[in-house]
Symmetry: C2
Subunit: 132 residues, 2 copies
């Protein structure tokens, strides 16, 4: 009789990161980077570092409060760095970390697909609404 413990192919399930699982850090991080303003802020920073005001102009429609809340969450997750430059008045520059660059690149790829698909999306919506 074989009494050896069952072979497993890796660590137990609960130790493997999985965005589908409610309690996983990666799921919370996914929600942070895909938030309404976070995805746009990351893509804007993907074009280069920006000051707060520049970012705000770039991300059409964001309020000062929402943008600073968004940037704080992204800084906390290690996606964005915040650098105070001691000019007069002091300047605050935001930039992506290595991890932030990877996420911004994936988001930008998705945005490119969506921008190219605008005619298809508009047509799909018209069809859906006319059938409703």
């Amino acid at each position: 009789v074989n009494t050896a413990p069952e072979r497993t192919d890796g660590p137990p399930d609960e130790l493997v990161a999985n965005v589908f699982k409610r309690a996983c850090t990666s799921r919370a991080a996914l929600e942070d980077v895909t938030g309404k303003w976070a995805s746009l802020a990351l893509m804007a920073l993907g074009e280069g570092s920006h000051r707060f005001g520049e970012l705000r102009r770039h991300v059409d429609g964001v309020s000062e409060k929402m943008l600073s809340q968004t940037l704080r969450a992204l800084e906390r997750d290690g996606m964005v760095t915040r650098t105070v430059v001691s000019t007069l008045p002091p300047r605050v520059d935001y930039a992506l970390t290595g991890l932030g660059v990877q996420i911004a690149t994936a988001l930008r790829g998705m945005a490119d697909v969506l921008e190219d698909a605008v005619p298809d999306i508009a047509e799909a919506r018209e069809r859906y609404d006319s059938e409703a």
Copy 2:
């Protein structure tokens, strides 16, 4: 004197799709696919077509109401198809369109990055919180 109209390199700005612009269809579509449940539903469907109940089990924590609302929005945008199979009782299958596959692939790439980065994200959060 040169009175010729200025040369432009393409269509006027307001006719170019741009996710940064509030009024652009691509911005609304970006919000649809990056929604809290939409990104997970798209990734789940990226693994193959699913029935409603299967999808619900896969996307840990989603309510029936939120999942059906999410799927309707994705169907309307032309990302997801809904097929009623006339078994007894009838079965409803959800699958990705070509556009949905492209979006799901980009989202999955991002999720892979986040899953691999869990230790870094956790460390960044601890550091941020200890400095606050």
